[in-house]
Amino acid sequence: QAKGSDGEGASGKFVYVYPFDITTQHYNAALPNAALLVPASNAELFIPRPAVLNWETQEWIPQLAESVDLTDKTLTIKLRSGIKWTDGNPVTSKDVKGTIYLQKLNAPQGTVGWDQIESVTADDDTTVTVQYSAAFPGVEHGALKVQVLPYARYGEWTDEAEALVAAGAIQGSPEQSALAEKIAAEDFKDAEGGFITCGAYKFKDIGETVITMEVHEGGLFADQVKFETFEIQKGDNATSVQLLLSSEVDYSTQVLGATDRQTIAGVDGLKELSTPGYDGIGLMLNQARFPEFADVDVRKAFLYVLDTEQIGEIAKGQGGYYLPKTYTGLADPHAEGLFDDVELEFYSVDHAKATSLLEGAGWKQESDGWHKPDGSLAEYTIIGVEGWTDFTLSGEQAADQLTQFGIKVAYENVPEDNPWGIWGAGDFDIAVRQWANPFVPYVYGAWQMTWFTDNGLTADAMGMGVPVDAVETATQGTVNVAELYRQSQQGTEEEQAAANKILGIVFNETLPRLPLFLNQRVSYAVEGKRVKAVDPGDYELNDIYFDNPIMVRILEGGIEPV
């Protein structure tokens, strides 16, 4: 029935692959983790946000909003008019306001951008005003990126959330828990009208292995999109490889291993879309357990031992990783331009340097291996996670290389069900762990990962035991990392930049985590089969799981059928 007035221009179909599961997933979009396709990259197509971010320019690309404006502590969201929900209601500021309140109530304390919200008001049908208690670049991120829920269905809850926020309830309070439970108990599987959406596409058929979406007349950008149908094939890695092999899919965001990539290499029209990722794999040294790791020289020596290129090659395969240009704890796109005027240490394999650093730190190499200053043999175990292949391979290789250098390092896997518990508790010698941060488009995300994740420093969750209050550095003196971190999030643009610069230098000097390599995000497209060209356009640096460039381009009408 989609073939109607909006039919001009829209034809053909675009096929995406994603591992959904209709037996357990449902239509309650207030539970994004468990709702059908809501956490997927293609969510922009049916459950839009006020705006998405262009990661390179850090500018907002308005979606449901016509324009957004943050002036002082006030965020004004001007909605497009004429957009309709599938139940026929227009999209109004009430929907947006309610959604923001619900998110605010459920956001854990200490979350940047949510803590600072004071009030949300719907000034008229298309204007939402968010009032912040403090303003800084990035504060608007949370509010702008909510997936907007229809008031008609969720109004009862959003109203309750608004009232609770007004009454000062926070996440974890009994009222909030009660509401959360109420929400969790609803799945809308049998709800009238199915999944209520307001995007360019709406659900047509929900099959066990295929979900078909069709153009939603009256939905956001329905007039711009060029595909009549958008199909999502259910598929994990294996299936997406098979689908790519038989050209049954146009776009896949599954992380494929080196072998998979070789498997599909010969497919006609295959295109690898590769963007530098914002996170990487590194090693956490447990300073709380081994005091010798507090010595900066020891950590540096370790990094000089490791052939990170080989590790990346094995773990991720050609094209699946890249080595950072600077060892500042930041992915290249974030580091760009920040450190042009400072001299940074560059850690490439240099066993001689490692030897002299260790000897300088009082270590001795004997026939059975390196001995610590106290004379005991240096022996460690690296833990990786069962089933996380890149972790496993990186850990194995690192252990191998350190052992060959003479530091006895074994490798072991921990079960994949709860490595976070193990890391958080500091129950390891050395652990393979991410560095930098793929989820947060702002630099501070990297600092969070470096200094605050798995570094609880409390008695029962010591983590890696790296100090954050007073860190001795050669060039910056003693710095308070925690304070700088706060500034990097909540300062003005200049303050943020300054803090970021100092923290980068501190990272480079003290190596709180040993960065091995950065992940290169690779996604796959098949061109020429159904789709003319799959191209990220201006959004090349957008992360494919957050603000996916291809989806933004589809909405813009930048991707067309053959």
């Binding site: 890695n237 294996a238 490889v241 098979q242 092999l245 494929l256 291993g257 080196a258 072998t259 998979d260 070789q262 498997t263 080989q310 090659e313 094995i314 069962e386 089933g387 292949t389 496993t392 391979l393 290789q397 191998d400 072991e412 896997n413 921990v414 079960p415 069900d417």
Partner: protein, 299 residues
């Protein structure tokens, strides 16, 4: 009485009639038993002696990833550029010895409990019987999953223990039933009438009559244990320390090697090894059964 005839004092050697004699005959005479034994021995040798013969230096080599079979790499190389054949040679030992250990354990427990329950009956019997009912009802894999999850750092012999403990129930029942019927057999009664003592009756009169049955079941149990252990690896629940068949299959599936034609030697080699080994065990079991099953023998 006159001096005893020397002929009487010297027992006639009847190797073919002793237990091991019959095992030997069973394994060598019947074509099936022979083929099975050759297969099993071959794979055992390959897996236990092979690692001593084959050069163990198998470095990661990023320039040699997924190469085709060649004279340098008989089965080509795998995803790290390591030699697949070398990995295969090293992959058999663990499943085999763990499986054997598990089977030994299961058979041992089943024999001890089974003969106790069958011989003494009464309370122990009732309790053990109920226990087997439950053991049989809980899906074996589930029990193993739970235990494997419980001890996160489980050593190989621990796995053997776990697998063994899920397998004993079936054998227990048949052993118990056999002991119960053997106990009532007249020759056991005859032994009691001669006042030969319980220990002798159980160990010398009853158990030897089941030796064939137990032996055959041991072979079957090894097979089942390998099924279970490899299964655990395939599910990816086991530490990936030592190379083994199950791990190879797990990697083939979890990393989608099975979709890549170049990876076929790596994917198919462990499958083939398991197929051959289990067929070997089964045919060996059949040969043994023919040689040892009293029902077949009496005829």
């Amino acid at each position: 009485m006159s001096t005893v005839d020397a002929a009487i004092l010297k027992p006639r050697k009847q190797f073919g009639e002793t237990f091991f004699g019959r095992v030997w005959t069973g394994l060598t005479r019947s074509p099936a038993g022979f083929a099975g034994t050759v297969l099993v021995l071959g794979i055992v040798l390959f897996s236990f002696v092979g690692p001593l013969v084959v050069n163990q230096d198998n470095p990661t080599d990023t320039t040699q990833i997924w190469t085709e079979p060649s004279s340098a790499h008989w089965l080509g190389t795998q995803y790290e550029g390591k030699d697949t054949f070398t990995i295969l040679v090293n992959s058999g030992a663990e499943p085999i010895w763990v499986g054997t250990l598990a089977a030994l354990m299961a058979v041992f427990v089943a024999v001890v409990f089974g003969s106790a329950a069958g011989y003494f009956r009464g309370k122990i019997d009732a309790v053990l019987l109920q226990l087997t009912d439950v053991t049989v009802t809980i899906p074996q894999f589930l029990l193993m999953l739970a235990v494997v999850a419980f001890f996160d750092d489980i050593p190989a012999w621990g796995i053997a223990f776990v697998v063994g403990s899920t397998m004993w129930a079936f054998l227990f029942r048949s052993i118990r039933a056999q002991v119960m019927s053997l106990k009532e057999r007249e020759f056991v009664e005859a032994a009691r009438l001669q006042d030969l003592g319980t220990a002798r009756i159980v160990f010398r009169e009853i158990l030897p009559n089941m030796a064939g049955f137990i032996f055959v079941n041991f072979v079957i149990a090894v097979n089942q244990a390998i099924y279970a252990i490899v299964g655990l690896y395939v599910l990816g629940l086991m530490p990936s320390g030592t190379p083994n068949w199950g791990l190879m299959i797990h990697q083939s599936w979890s990393q989608n090697f099975y979709l890549n034609p170049v990876a076929m030697p790596f994917v198919l080699a462990p499958l083939l090894m398991i197929v051959l080994f289990t067929i070997g065990l089964v045919t060996m079991g059949r040969g043994l059964d023919q040689a040892l099953n009293p029902r077949l023998r009496e005829r």
